[in-house]
């Protein structure tokens, strides 16, 4: 299969780029680790979780999800950069599978996520994160996180190919990801939010992802106004549905955009 080979070469290019600019990898991991430390020690003391092990147990799944959500920005700005340099024209004029460049890009960004998640897991362990579930469930949780990042990476493809400027890409990505990650259960229980926000937060894919991970890591989720709703009862299933919807919408849209991006 030459398409598979093309994708493999592009993915490898991505990793080669990373190895040539190790700063990217370093800063991709420093930021989430900083978040772990900040939330753990700044807010951790004043948030009563009512769970054994304290705030850090709730926090880590939240930060994992936030970090993979930022894959959107990474993919988008990477593609915008390639476009600016005319690299996309070059790739599109080659006799290769036309989707190889974007598929390779999304896969490469997911591989980066593996490294980032591993570093964060270690940082979490150091500050007291101890998932009570078995190894298989924890591994499943991480697999889930990677899959979520991969789905969002396709949103990033569309953002990156649609924007006229790399700075716009940054802004758009942040406007999309910041409210989603904060209007959620990721850092604080939703029970304290106004009722309307609680509903939003409960249906927010970031929340369902966080809840799903907490479940897989052996925690119990807490709900306020929305207790008994479908996403709070079945966070795993809901998250899976979200990811499939995101991919079903954004993969075809992104590939179409890529094929006709100059028209």
């Amino acid at each position: 299969m030459s398409a598979v080979n093309d994708i493999y070469i592009i993915t490898r290019r991505q990793l080669l780029l990373l190895s040539r600019v190790p700063e990217v990898l370093i800063f991709s991991t420093i930021q989430p680790v900083m978040f772990v430390l900040l939330f753990r020690y700044v807010f951790g003391g004043s948030i009563d979780t009512g769970q054994p092990g304290g705030y850090v147990q709730l926090l880590m799944p939240g930060i994992f999800v936030q970090t993979v959500a930022f894959t959107l920005a990474g993919t988008a700005s990477g593609l915008a950069e390639d476009m600016k340099k005319g690299l996309i024209d070059r790739f599109r004029s080659l006799p290769i599978s036309q989707s190889a460049l974007v598929i390779g890009r999304t896969l490469g960004d997911s591989l980066l996520n593996i490294v980032v998640l591993a570093v964060m897991g270690i940082a979490g362990y150091i500050v007291g994160w101890r998932p009570s579930a078995g190894l298989a469930n924890v591994a499943l949780g991480f697999l889930f996180l990677l899959f979520f990042g991969y789905a969002l990476s396709w949103v990033g493809v569309l953002v990156g190919l649609s924007a006229s400027d790399a700075r716009v890409v940054q802004n758009v990505s942040f406007i999309v990801t910041f409210p989603l990650t904060f209007l959620s259960n990721a850092f604080a229980p939703t029970t304290g939010m106004p009722r309307a926000l609680q509903y939003f937060a409960e249906w927010n894919p970031v929340s369902t992802m966080v809840a799903a991970c907490r479940e897989l890591f052996g925690l119990e989720n807490q709900f306020g106004a929305t207790a008994g709703s479908f996403p709070s009862e079945h966070p795993l299933t809901t998250s899976l549905i979200y990811m499939l919807i995101i991919m079903l919408i954004f993969i075809p849209l992104s590939l179409r955009k890529y094929r006709n991006y100059a028209d």
Partner: protein, 327 residues
Amino acid sequence: MKSVIAENLVKTYDKGNVRALDGLSLDVEEGTVLSVLGPNGAGKTTVVRILTTLLRADSGSASVAGIDVIKNPEKVREVIGLSGQYAAVDEILTGYDNLVMFGELYHLGKKQAVVRANELLERFSLTEAAKRPIKTYSGGMRRRLDLAASLIVKPKVLFLDEPTTGLDPRGRQEMWGVIQELVKGGVTLLLTTQYLEEADQLADDIAVIDTGKVIARGTSDALKKQVGGERLEVVVEQVHVAKTMEIVAAVSGHKAALDEGLRLISAPVSTGSAALFEVLKALDSAGIHALDVGLKRPSLDDVFLSLTGHAAEEKKEEIAEKKRGRK
């Protein structure tokens, strides 16, 4: 045989408000070099992007190496090489990395890709810089590497979109040398340029385009002839202008033109240096001392001016085109 044929290509941007191509037709004979010459905004990049399958024309047809660009873009990509205005290589990667990667994408296999990369680096005098990231390269080196990347599999037709734009004179000379080498090797080349001298130097044939249409086509010499061969030019003091115009007109047999600011009198002549001698003699017997006198062969700038009625200048369309092209 025609290696490139474009017929009646139309391309509009911004919902039809900007006509980048307005019924453009051209062709390139196998083994020859066609230069598409025009100012910014004339539609040069758009035509290259259509012929290299990057852009779809609104209407019209085009083929490259006998393959329909619109129906079979994948097949076209197998036989073309493209080097654009912006050196399109990964800056962070080394020259060697880039060429090996492109070689693999051309399905050469790792071993073959390495061999080919080294060959090309050698050929374009980049062996020493092979293991350095592209961002340390000079503008000329980047363009050479970009060109090398488009030659990994010997293309049947090579497209170079403004290969020397933005290069300093030395970089331009080097690039010309490289392209001339290629031409000697018998490549079929379509080259766009806004430098009249470049078209003159590199191309067998020139298509002058303006506002999305070909407005003249021919060899450099033929185009120059179209403007009217050589011109005799004389510069004199203000007081002698009227008399000198009479003398020049008499020798030329045509009406003499006057550039008042420069006090430059000129007229077309067909007898070359004999006419020059005649004018000098006539001026001498009239007691007029010429400040400057000479025969001028028309430049392609003159060609452009006489064909379009305006000098080669940047226009609004280009801004739209650039925006699209760079996105």
